[in-house]
């Protein structure tokens, strides 16, 4: 009861403040802005009540995505979640759409490649296969262990992120990571001014900064919105599945699997299990493959960026 009351009070106070701010700026928030003239072009929209309504195109304003999370929120992560990724090696043919979409979303240079697709061959007589790697988001992350300033950290939802505003650029984490997943901004990242001027957000890892370390962030901003990481949705072959271990569900967008069954049935494994890093990325072995390894060789030139 008490909680409800305080919530109501809070909302009321918030509304009053908003109204006050609006009055101060001498503009009602509900009247169209003066300098916008109706274009005459109407757009059909579905209202919250389920009615189809028409609005002049000129009055449409993009809704800000989501309020950016604060640094401490970004460091805590989302309670009750444990994010996990499953990479099905039987489906990968080195399309590299994952890499392109990742580089695009995080505004990272092509040379840096947070996602890599390795041509692998484990032993002399075993088969070749393509192995995409992201950050493993280990549960015992060696990189976090060695960071002297808590610039890279492990969240309660399992994601390992980097605070580029705090990183001192000692590169100990790069030496500690056995998966070679971390990259360094040796020079200026050369971002367009509108990106470079953004306030750094550990969940988007944008903008990358000179003299600091970068790596795959499991698209923590997307997962906060309940959406899939960019690599997962970009892959045309459904290689990547992403989900929550607590819900025991992973999905590649088209298909959804029960995580525990998938790992059991297909003998999932993790990379370098013997090191004890306990990665959050699982691999399904390359059996009954959808493509020949050689098909991927044709795609060795860098993938075309998709918007």
């Amino acid at each position: 009861m008490d909680q409800k009351k305080s919530r109501r009070e809070f909302l009321a106070a918030g509304l009053l403040t908003t109204a006050a701010v609006a009055c101060n700026s001498k503009k009602s928030p509900f009247t169209p802005e003066d300098d916008i003239k109706p274009s005459g072009e109407k757009i059909k929209l579905l209202s919250v009540d389920g009615e189809v309504i028409e609005v002049d195109k000129a009055f449409l304003k993009p809704v800000p995505h989501m309020p950016p999370v604060s640094n401490s929120e970004a460091r805590q992560g989302i309670p009750g979640k444990k994010f996990v990724m499953v990479i099905d090696l039987a489906r990968c043919k080195n399309v590299k759409a994952c890499q392109a979409s990742c580089n695009h979303a995080h505004h990272i240079a092509d040379a840096q490649n947070w996602i890599k697709v390795y041509p692998m061959k484990d032993a002399e007589h075993t088969a070749n296969y393509w192995q995409p790697t992201t950050c493993m988001h280990c549960d015992e992350p060696p990189c976090v262990k060695v960071c002297p300033v808590d610039a890279t950290f492990k969240r309660q939802d399992g994601i390992v992120l980097i605070d580029s505003d705090r990183c001192i650029g000692c590169r100990f984490c790069m030496a500690a990571c056995p998966y070679s997943t971390r990259v360094f901004n040796w020079g200026d990242p050369n971002l367009p001014p509108d990106i470079a001027d953004l306030h750094y957000n550990a969940e988007t890892s944008v903008p990358q900064k000179k003299g600091t370390v970068g790596k795959c962030d499991f698209c923590a901003d997307m997962t906060r919105m309940g959406m899939l990481p960019h690599c997962v949705s970009a892959c045309p072959n459904g290689v990547f599945s992403f989900g929550d271990m607590v819900e025991d569900t992973v999905t590649n967008g088209a298909e959804t699997f029960r995580f525990s069954d998938l790992i059991k049935d297909k003998s999932g494994y993790r990379l370098m299990e013997d090191l004890g890093t306990k990665p959050s990325v699982y691999y399904l072995p390359p059996v009954n493959r959808n493509f020949k390894f050689e098909d991927g060789l044709k795609k060795e030139e860098p993938a075309v960026k998709k918007s």
């Binding site: 262990k145 002297p148 705090r166 100990f172 971390r182 040796w186 020079g187």
Partner: protein, 438 residues
């Protein structure tokens, strides 16, 4: 055996007082200053453009700066070896060597701290170590022990200097103006009373006892920066002892070189005698054998097994890309000096000087070999990264900064030797009065 000559206090004071740079001294100092200036210029460029001016990449993310850091930390350990261990073991012939080794220790540890800042991508965020420091990180341990060691070395140098500074103040007429203010600021309170002497003696003993574990810590923790990772070539339980033994070797080698140079330049033949070289030669050969022993452990045991992850790294060292440097470091840094020094003829000053130089140069390359080849052999293949990341050779910026830091160490030693006596006057007088059998 030659008999130690006995000198009057006046002669000793006269012989050991610091002197002005001669022509050679001026050229030497100017050369060092020029090298430092080039290094400083390169560093300013690096600050402006970022670490992109180096040839490091995402695989070799630690290069010549870090190997230089390890080298400096190693060499600075000698201060504790000669001063503290010799004092506690009551080695009677140590007097002419302690000051030299303390000077080397202070200057090397200073530049160890500076070069690690040079390696940082964001040096202006150094204060984050204090704002957000995580004690779990081996880097924090290194920051703590290196700072401690720096101050302990500085105190040890300072407290052992006090009676000498009193002599310097008294010899104002001979020394002239240049540093008289500094001398008075440092030690005008020192009267040499019995009580002061007692306190000084006690302080030195305490410092000597404390500095030994701290000295072991600085190099053990430095080795842990590597050994706490999973990488082949670093993932070794041998690393702490391996590093400390190597550090004692290179430090003793540096002392031998410095002994020889100071003896020549300041004409100290009566103080740093052939007997001292003979003794240091024996210590050096023992330390070289010890380091060789740890090297056998470090390389031959993994080579016997040739685990897949180690194989590429080890064959690269033994017969691959790094083989010339590897065998150079083993032979020049250990085996040839051992062969020179085991024979009494090899423990004469000239031969010792050559052996000392070999040890120091070999040790520098050894540190390079400890850092770089391992980074070129990650667990996953090197793939889909710029081609230049697959190899490493330092850029001219890195060479300029590294050489500048080496010159900086020599410059501090040079200035210390210009301002203070390189051999303790006070202690030498006492030794001669007490008729110590040296």
């Amino acid at each position: 055996m030659e008999k130690q000559q006995k000198f009057s206090p006046e002669k000793i004071t006269n012989d050991l007082l610091p002197t002005k740079f001669g022509r050679r001294g001026t050229i030497w100092t100017m050369t060092l200053l020029a090298i430092c200036a080039v290094g400083a210029f390169a560093y300013i460029q690096q600050l402006r453009k970022g670490l992109v001016v180096t040839n490091m990449g995402d695989y070799v993310s630690w290069g010549i700066y870090i190997s230089n850091f390890v080298f400096f930390v190693a060499i600075s350990l000698v201060g504790s070896l000669i001063t503290a261990i010799f004092r506690l073991a009551n080695v009677p012939w140590r007097t002419p060597l302690t000051r030299i080794s303390e000077m080397i220790a202070v200057s090397a540890i200073t530049f160890a701290a500076l070069i690690i800042i040079v390696d940082m991508g964001r040096p202006e965020r150094l204060f984050n170590l204090f704002l957000h420091g995580r004690i779990q990180s081996p880097i924090m341990w290194d920051v703590i022990v290196i700072t401690t060691y720096f101050f302990l070395s500085l105190f040890l140098l300072y407290i052992t200097l006090l009676p000498d500074i009193k002599i310097l103040i008294e010899a104002k007429d001979k020394l002239g103006k240049p540093f008289s203010k500094l001398y008075r600021w440092l030690a005008s309170f020192w009267k040499g009373t019995d009580q002061q002497e007692k306190m000084r003696d006690r302080s030195i003993t305490i410092l000597c006892i404390v500095i030994i574990p701290v000295a072991f810590c600085i190099h053990t923790v430095t080795s842990w920066l590597f050994a706490t990772t999973y990488r082949p070539g670093w993932d070794s339980t041998n690393f702490g002892a391996y590093f400390v033994s190597g550090a004692f070797l290179v430090g003793a080698g540096a002392v031998v070189v410095a002994m020889y140079v100071f003896r020549k330049v300041y004409k100290l033949e009566h103080y740093i005698t052939e007997r001292h070289f003979e003794k240091m030669g024996k210590i050096l050969v023992m330390l070289a054998l010890l380091y060789l022993y740890f090297n056998v452990n470090e390389y031959l045991v993994p080579a016997f097994k040739m685990k897949k992850s180690e194989e590429e790294h080890l064959t690269g060292l033994f017969s691959g890309e790094f083989a010339p440097m590897f065998w150079f470091a083993i032979f020049i840094g250990m085996i040839i000096p051992i062969l020179i020094l085991v024979f009494p003829k090899g423990r004469k000053p000239n031969a010792m000087f050559v052996a000392g130089i070999m040890v120091v140069i070999g040790a520098w390359f050894k540190r390079y070999l400890i850092v770089t080849p391992t980074m070129l052999h990650p667990f996953l293949p090197k793939y889909d990264a710029p081609a230049k990341y697959s190899h490493y050779f330092p850029s001219w910026y890195e060479w300029a900064i590294a050489m500048g830091s080496l010159a900086g160490v020599l410059l501090i030693i040079t200035f210390l030797a210009r301002i203070f006596p390189v051999i303790s006057i006070y202690k030498t007088i006492t030794d001669h009065e007490e008729e110590q059998p040296f």
